[in-house]
């Protein structure tokens, strides 16, 4: 009797799994399959990207397979997903690497299977890629360094070159985080009236944004401007400002132009946010993949526009 209880549990899982199965890829219609491997799906940015990709896939008549790790930082899981998807005979692989260097080992297997690689949003580490002999067909993304600069220039403009800034950084060592930060610093360095009084990581998270900025305010009462490398951290900072009763006296500039951030900008609680267009990225990724599969050439870099969202400029 006891022998069969565990198998019963497994069988249950199998039933659950077969119910939730997507349309089978192995069809007689010979539709090409494009895989899109994201960092995670619990962030609006990547959800938007999937929507864009799906729109393009439906329009162009290819099958889209989207997979993501449970957590944004889990490179090992992402590598496993790539390996497993290669087994299903995908025709092209578009990926937002969770680790610029680490993911290369998995891409080597894609190359061995003659699956073209397209990189989205986060660049590969050039040296690691070169060492492994990996060349992506294209990079689709917006330039995070340029985005950081855009934010820096905007801060100079609205403060007339006089500001005391607190910075909320992303996860240290993260390519995206580093680029945004460098762009911002390079831009504000031009203006002598601007000082960055504090700069601390809040690891992309809203509640950490709240805590870190609350502590920052304790240490530096005269901070008048915040730059957060992502809107989630910016939104956390806005709550910390409200808790300190300083709403409206501190300018908050974020990144990503999330819906919540746009709302905060409209309500005057937030100054501005750098808009990336993940929907466009997803769309461009599938469009480029289809071109590659058709033997057409694609440019090595496809830059998706960046935009400053402010109250006066309005949302897109």
């Amino acid at each position: 009797m006891r022998k069969y209880t565990v198998p019963a549990a497994i069988a249950l899982a199998c039933v659950a799994l077969s119910c939730n199965r997507d349309t089978p890829a192995a069809g007689a219609d010979k539709k090409k399959t494009v895989a899109l491997v994201l960092k995670t799906l619990n962030h609006p940015f990547f959800v938007d990207m999937r929507r864009g990709a799906q729109e393009a896939a439906d329009r162009l008549g290819v099958t889209l397979q989207v997979q993501a790790a449970e957590r944004e930082i889990d490179v090992d899981k992402q590598m496993q997903i790539v390996e497993n998807m290669l087994q299903t005979g995908i025709d092209a692989l578009a990926i937002t690497p969770s680790g610029s260097r680490e993911i290369v080992s998995a891409l080597v297997k894609a190359k061995a299977a003659n699956v073209p690689i397209l990189i989205v949003d986060t660049r590969l580490d050039p040296k690691a890629a070169a060492d492994a002999g990996i060349t992506a067909k294209t990079f689709i993304g917006s330039d995070n360094y340029e985005g950081g600069k855009l934010a820096g220039d905007y801060v100079i403009k609205v403060t007339n070159g006089k500001a005391r800034i607190g910075v909320l950084e992303g996860i240290p060592g993260h390519e995206t985080a580093d680029s945004r930060l460098r762009g911002f610093r390079d831009a504000v360095a031009k203006s002598h009236g601007i000082t960055i009084v504090a700069s601390q990581p809040a690891n992309w998270e809203r509640d950490q944004g709240f805590n870190v900025f609350q502590n920052m305010l304790q240490a530096h009462h005269n901070i008048d401007t915040v730059f957060a490398a992502s809107d989630l951290m910016a939104l956390g900072a806005i709550e910390a400002i409200a808790a300190a009763g300083k709403t409206g006296t501190i300018k908050v500039v974020g990144f990503d132009a999330l819906d919540d951030a746009k709302k905060a900008i409209a309500e005057g609680k937030m100054e501005a946010s750098v808009a990336q267009f993940p929907y466009e990225m997803g769309k461009a990724a599938v469009e480029s993949a289809v071109k590659v599969l058709a033997g057409e050439s694609v440019p090595p870099d496809i830059m998706v526009k960046l935009e400053m969202i402010t109250k006066s400029a309005g949302s897109r």
């Binding site: 022998k3 209880t5 549990a9 659950a16 957590r71 680490e102 690691a128 240290p172």
Partner: protein, 307 residues
Amino acid sequence: MRARRFGTLIGLLLLCAALWILTPHFLTVSNLLNIVQQTSINAIVAAGMTFVIISAGIDLSVGSIVAWSGVVLGAMLQAGQPAAIAVPAALLAGVGCGLINGLLVSIGRLPPFIATLGMMSVARGAALVFTEGRPVSGFSEGFRWIATGSLGFVPAPVLVMLIVYAIAHFALTRTTFGRYVYAIGGNEEATRLSGVAVRFHKTAVYAVSGLMSAVAAIVLTARLNSAQPIAGMMSELDAIAATVIGGTSLLGGEGSVGGTLIGALIMGVLRNGLNLLGVSSFLQQIVIGVVIVVAVLVDTTLKRHRT
């Protein structure tokens, strides 16, 4: 105990059969090799966890020890030390953390949950401080063989896993140490009154777990070609899950590494299958959660019926 392990094995085979029916991509040599390779890291950590759980303890710090040993290894390799020095250093780093856990439990009489919860935070923090939060990378091809190489058709990580399991199985079934681990987990006071050095062996159990975490860290670092201070987050839960699915009782005193290996494979096959079928990561979490809970439910129900 044996019947139970047999049952888990049937569970694994049924799962494989189901996937074989559901997708043509499952039962291929390359996919099966992928699965064992992907399972190897969790399986190695879970082998150490099995020792701890059989002794009626728990080790929540394994994921953090993976990160800590990994960055020690990475830093030494990057500084130009040969693998022959860096690898033992990493193992030592892992054993050290395990020893501290063990002493806190045996001499300090802390509940294992608390002692290892503390270590979970301390080792993670140490890894982050040591690397300033950045990954360490740039290793020689020779070192990376541990992840990319193979012996015949057996990939190197799988080879490491098999060696670890052979030793662990031997230790648990053919040595006095193994006997004492089961006895301590079954009835610590009776074991003490039988003249067994209970404190020593309890400490050793956590050291073994730390060692296994360090071995896993070596494989992981080679696989990622990078040592990440954020590596292994939540992997303690995967290791506990593999152990428990494999029939080891959280109450201690019974279990086997063979069962744990099957448990780890069930989780690996499940994840792989869900990927192949294109099931979203959210649904994957639900399915895996259900399997864990049902496996433990079965375990406790069986126990109730027996006593």
